[in-house]
């Protein structure tokens, strides 16, 4: 007897789920190409570009949501956020919505637990909040000048934004959207990384050539670590206690041991490294190199350059861009 259609659908769904979660499944990278108004989807097994999705004008920021499988992209020059609905494979991905997002949306972050999307309007100095499931604007709050990177602290119910032109981090309560006292950091902060285990926040200070370490319990900066020239994005590897810093003007990444707050090594990348993300298994680091339109793959532990993939025109990849398996 043939199985009933409903059972068949459930069986098919289980098979698809099993396939999607197969061990060693290959992750994809969704990288914003600011010079060609698209997102390049790279198969990280070999760097092949498997899809190109047209988005808004001059896309920069990117954030990944696992469930539902979506990728959010900020396009500062068309003043909106594109929502990419991920299909069974990248070839069936499509842009399902465009959300108007102030004057100059750049930074973007997802709070998966609360299904919220945060976007920084760099020109208006506002943090915009969206329902990441219903794709509706739900609120906004005035922060400081030139907001860049955004970090969501789900545990503390806070979101942090690098107010670049104020040399400070804005602190916003996720429930009330009330703004708490700013935290002073180094000069021209852009990238942020939250260290939930150590209750710390790190900022990449573009003009300060440093990373500030903020103790979140104390609510103030406790150290500045000298890195390369024009540090831009940050990424924490919680398992390895490593903080990666992309040094735009040095064509390198600094790797900081978060337990000792020392730079353990500095590794050459491509030209003008910006966006950073890790493979889901935590073994590989990906660096988006804006100047030479490449993505470099590094060993997450040593930083050693393993492979170089062709990227798109003026690729940025500011945010999380590797999709979970």
């Amino acid at each position: 007897m043939a199985p009933r259609p409903r059972c068949r659908a459930v069986a098919l769904a289980l098979v698809l789920l099993a396939l999607a979660r197969a061990p060693g499944a290959v992750p994809y990278a969704y990288i914003t190409d600011q010079g060609s108004d698209d997102v390049a989807v790279l198969d990280l097994a070999d760097g092949t570009r498997v899809a190109t999705l047209k988005v808004g004008h001059a896309p920069v920021g990117v954030a990944v949501l696992a469930q539902p499988a979506r990728v959010f992209v900020t396009s500062p020059e068309s003043h909106d956020v594109q929502v990419i609905a991920r299909g069974a494979t990248p070839r069936s991905d499509r842009v399902e919505a465009r959300l108007p997002a102030g004057e100059l949306p750049v930074g973007v972050a997802v709070d998966a637990r609360a299904a919220r999307l945060y976007v920084g309007d760099m020109s208006a100095g506002r943090l915009l909040v969206f329902d990441a499931i219903g794709l509706q604007a739900t609120g906004s709050v005035a922060i400081g000048r030139g907001p860049g990177g955004i970090a969501v602290d789900a545990e503390a119910g806070r979101v942090y934004v690098a107010d670049r032109d104020d040399d400070a981090v804005a602190v916003v309560d996720t429930r009330t959207l009330a703004r708490g006292p700013d935290i002073a950091v180094g000069q021209h902060p852009f990238g942020l990384a939250l260290d939930a285990a150590l209750r710390r926040l790190y900022t990449a200070n573009v003009y300060g050539n440093s990373v500030s370490v903020v103790d979140l319990a104390l609510g103030r900066r406790i150290a500045d670590i000298a890195v390369g020239a024009a540090p831009y994005c940050l990424l924490l590897h919680p398992g390895l206690h490593r903080l990666y810093v992309s040094n735009q003007h040095d064509d390198s990444i600094s790797i900081i041991d978060t337990q000792t707050l020392q730079v353990v090594t500095t590794v050459a990348t491509g030209g003008y490294p910006e966006g950073l993300d890790l493979a889901p298994d935590g073994n590989r680091l990906y660096v988006v190199n804006w100047m030479d339109d490449t993505v470099s793959e590094h060993d997450a532990r040593s930083g050693k350059l393993l492979r170089r993939f062709a990227g798109g025109r003026n690729n940025r990849g500011m945010g999380s861009f590797v999709v979970p398996e």
Partner: protein, 186 residues
């Protein structure tokens, strides 16, 4: 009569101060630079040894007028030491003040940023020049990253992304062309 004109002058000064404050506020509210960073990468192959080419390009302080046709004069406050500021006088009277950020004769690489000046419709400009030996020949690459001159939306045409790209491309192409000509001269 006299006190009257004094009062008018004082009122004018107050008005001017007010206007300057307003202008400063407007600038503060604006972005530090345009929305999207632009880049230019140009290269040239030169039929001359790399040392000879580096002798021209690597003299950040005073050497560039010897090969760049648009530069009339160059002087620097601290030679070719990192941090040195050079003032380039451009033919026609415009100028640029640039700071040397990296100087590495072992890899024949230098980096600099524009600090001020009116010669290019760009902001936040940073640049790198590398000289690479290729046997008895040389490859020179000149790359720059910058934003357009107008920081906000809807730029005037002379300060938009295209104008910035065209200006920097022109500087690099004419410079490298003439560098080749000068270096290949016997």
């Amino acid at each position: 009569m006299k006190s009257n004109s004094k009062a008018i002058a004082a009122a004018r000064r107050t008005l001017l101060a007010g206007l300057l404050t307003l202008a400063a506020c407007a600038v503060q509210g604006a972005l530090a630079h345009g929305p999207s960073r632009q880049k230019v990468i140009e290269g040239v192959d030169i039929d001359a040894p790399a040392d000879k080419v580096w002798a021209l390009v690597g003299d950040f302080a005073e050497g560039w007028p010897k090969w760049h046709p648009a530069i009339e004069a160059s002087s620097a406050d601290n030679g070719n030491a990192v941090g040195s500021l050079r003032r380039l006088t451009i033919k026609g009277g415009k100028f640029l003040v640039e700071r040397l950020d990296l100087y590495d004769p072992s890899t024949m690489t230098l980096k600099y940023v524009i600090r001020s000046g009116d010669a290019l419709p760009v902001t936040n400009y940073s640049s790198m020049v590398t000289v690479r030996a290729d046997g008895n020949k040389t490859h020179v690459e000149w790359r720059g990253a910058f934003y357009r001159g107008y920081p906000n939306n809807d730029p005037p045409p002379e300060q938009n992304d295209e104008a910035a790209l065209a200006a920097v491309t022109g500087v690099y192409k004419t410079g490298l062309e003439n560098l080749k000509a000068v270096a290949e001269k016997k």
